[in-house]
Subunit: 223 residues, 6 copies
């Protein structure tokens, strides 16, 4: 029942890098407005923008043992994703675990629970998106699993899925969709650039997108 | 039922500028401790201090169509105020809409819902006070209204009311009260300056405000 | 029933300074994983790290009168700790009270309610950990007590207990345990240093802490 | 600044009775999907269905003095509506105040705060819709106002507006709209009856409302 | 992108009936402590105990159009499961939809959003587990999907999975695990019966489960 | 560090019975408006009214082992009080533990976490006040303590303190204050009876309590 899946497939690093550059909002739109984790998942410091392959962790409330197990599974470019089996805000993760994860090439942590040693993590440049900041410690008594499918902050995530995270929050992209989503995201960014210039010059979205007839037909009245 | 009120009255820009300088806490006190929006309305970055005339938006959950309609109604010095018709955290607003709003002279957004493109908005210097940060996108299918009275984060706001917003949150001042509130705010700031100096020198509020007799008469015991 | 306890015992300032340096997470662990206040208690700005002796305040909702009373009781190195008698988010404390508290040697405020004048407090370097940021004002009508035992954000705190606060939140240490907790914290920090170096070099926690046999005996399966 | 408005206009009792019978969901729909108070406003017992004219109360957190003032303003068929000036869960109201309100013809209480003596209120048949059930007591120290416009649980309410409340929550109807809303509600109920019979017989909403073509044109695919 | 999956597999009705009888807590334990939806999912009335095959709905916030689409897909013994694409408390479902769903053999609704017409649903005996009770209406403008995998209240659910719901909340069982889980649940119930009798007679769990040695070895001290 | 305190003092059963009869709201007022647990502590069924001596439990999140230890410490008339060491909603307690606790004379459970088997507990007449109802199970891996001081739902509680619980929630009375509080509660009930009769006859609180002069002096204006 408690397992560690050791061989997981990952998206190629180039695609992952492209998704990081596109950012959460664009990626979310490009894949049809799906994949956003709950809005309570906030970064511990501003400015981080990452993408990586998910190494998933299912852990009991208040028990961070499986983080040690998961770190062994990390490869360059991975992101740890921890979902507790019931709601918990304990600080599962701090500077020592971050040191270990960074040594294995990990780019960050997404955790539907708490994190601590914020000051150190910020100085190390190890970004975390979490539900809470909490110094409350954990035990190492009960098993969980690594690289099984989890639900984290409202999204189903499988090991190897691509996680994109920035100041807007966190988004998940199915591993097998990553390339297509990146293509769609780039197309979207190109289209936005043209619109941005027209909007900057004072043109209205009402006109650029030709919204006036549809607004009128729906019954909007100007008084 | 879905309307856009086009001609709204606004407070004069000088009064508005004075209220921005006074700040949320002082303005709130000066008008008799009323007008604060709910404390969950937080700025997306620290340090912004603005005031402006409200252009109000009533929008369905998950539908940002009316923002495009509202932007046409903006004048120099306005602030967009969006209240969803039921609780929603979607990201109604991002960098493209901000570009358009800024081109029309808009000073910021107050939204009882979500906002996205935080990094871009911060770089553009377009401040937002919101309930959530969320990349979750919206549709353009259902009408709302612009410049009708709304309840936003617990306060009734009418188009043309003055919105004051800073690191302490957001406060609304009735348009017709703006001048009187500014006068009261200035009086309060002058009075505070004298107190600040006495307090800095170590004098106690207990003595400055002559609180000891009243505390004693209420029954406070020193042990 | 409403009292001010004037003579409270405090931990010595050197011990307090040591606890500040150790920080919240380490102190919490060192005393057996107890003492953390609720995770909703967040600093108004990043980077503050303080410890001090608690001057406690029990105050009614929406009434900050007792803060004036408490400030008289402050000595160099103290921290104000306010617990409302029922949940409240009003802004009990702002720049004038901070000016007064600083003049008396106060190092900061821990308040299970709201605070305002964030910009000023940040510029003054007066740190606050609070449940909310709110400009909503208070009255001075109803008595509370000073230096009685309170429950603040989920922790029982007595006057003179040591409060440690940093970016991870707030922790309380019983006054009489302070010396022993500091010793344990220092021991822990020393032990962590060695581990940090091994982890940096890529060694795994699984091996450093010899976790593999126990994981296997509990039934963890590698697939 | 603290006032009691003594002469307020009310909707006629017959219209009010009709709205009670229609119920919250129907009335809300009939007036264009507006007027619902926040969903956290729950009845203290199941089965109550009332409507009445609002006697509004703006009260400080933790202070129920104004309830005594408001009770004098009650007439047969009124409903008390209390909005605290900042979020509060104290138990402002219990069996003694209910006894007094009932003696004045009051039909119930809508309070964006706490209530207590649930057992007694249930036995008396005095319904309350509240944010919380709490025994935490209040003081009588600070003035508020009676019959001024308030925002209660997200809705702007004026004295004399019609409050409709049942197991689905609470809805407000502008006094001057009451008759028209009742007419629309009755029309809606008649229309629903016919639909109910068709649905009971197994006919689908897809067919009754002719939704299939529009679903197809929007792009819904059956797989 | 918006699809209706028409042919889904279901567990046999006998297994489903057995799981209903076992109840949520037992089923959850029997399948290894997984599958519980979030604790905020509460029944609209006490005493309902059901199980059925999930017909899943992914719907936009504030838009209940897909419920009409889903009802056509219902078979005897099914349960509707609705997950909004972003958090929403609107009342998506009321007595008319319940009438229609019952006519198609539906046993109940599990909705991570709001429901209304509580009184009618209770009288009809149509049970609902929801996040909120809300009369706030919805529109029919934007497509969603039916019978795609969803995350509802923290659990991943696929069409045809077995939903078990009672006063303790809601649990999901993978369709392909249903038989095995039922067998394990029955075993567990048998084992509990013997324990219940020993506990009733005053015997202690400490002795029945032989906990004393392990407690002692972990270091528990009796004082 | 993990201990079980075996010999605790209790209030006499007669005093406890008197406090149960007085009820939560009255006891809370009689002891000076202190002692109410947070309002989220709700009974699993309506109508229970109990008082008893606290047997306290400090337990890790998601681990109910200490409940078995605590049950051995129960005597006739006790109430179990469980506080998790960090926020948790798991269902720590169900019908088997209730069977065991009842066999030892226990009157109920107050738990700042979750409970399950609601249907069975209701049928057994074993009342529980909890933060959540949740079927999510727990483990038995990590020690806690029994009969140490805890903070439960915002109140500091010591073993042997008297717990009073009814439909209004939960209140704690210090063991050594129990007799005095009961006397004050009875006095209060007597006084209320006279007031109830006057209020029933239509007399106003404004007059009974002679509030008009003080309201006028504070500045209340009748318009």
């Amino acid at each position: 029942m408690n397992i560690v899946l050791q061989n997981i497939e990952r998206a190629d690093l180039e695609t992952v890098a492209g998704l990081a550059e596109a950012g959460v909002a664009t990626v979310h739109e490009a894949q049809g407005r799906i994949g956003c984790l709950a809005s309570y998942m906030r970064p511990i410091y501003a400015g981080a923008r990452i993408a990586g392959s998910a190494v998933t962790i299912s852990a009991p409330p208040g028990d961070n043992w499986m983080l040690h197990v998961a770190i062994e599974q990390l490869r360059e470019g991975d992101i740890l994703v921890l979902a507790p089996t019931s709601p918990c805000e304990n600080g599962y993760f701090g500077d020592l675990l971050a040191t270990s994860a960074m040594a294995r090439g990990c780019r960050g942590l997404v955790i539907d629970a708490g994190v601590r040693d914020i000051r150190d993590l910020t100085q190390m440049g190890f970004p975390v998106w979490s539900k809470a900041i909490s110094a409350q410690g954990t035990v190492k008594e009960t098993l969980g699993s690594v690289n099984i499918p989890v639900v984290c902050a409202g999204q189903a995530i499988e090991a190897g899925d691509v996680i994109v995270a920035d100041d807007d929050g966190v988004c998940v992209v199915r591993r097998t969709d990553a390339k297509a989503v990146l293509a769609a995201a780039r197309k979207r960014m190109d289209a936005e650039e043209a619109k941005r210039q027209r909007l900057t010059s004072g043109e209205l979205g009402l006109d650029i997108y030709d919204m006036r007839p549809r607004l009128a037909s729906k019954g909007l009245k100007y008084v």
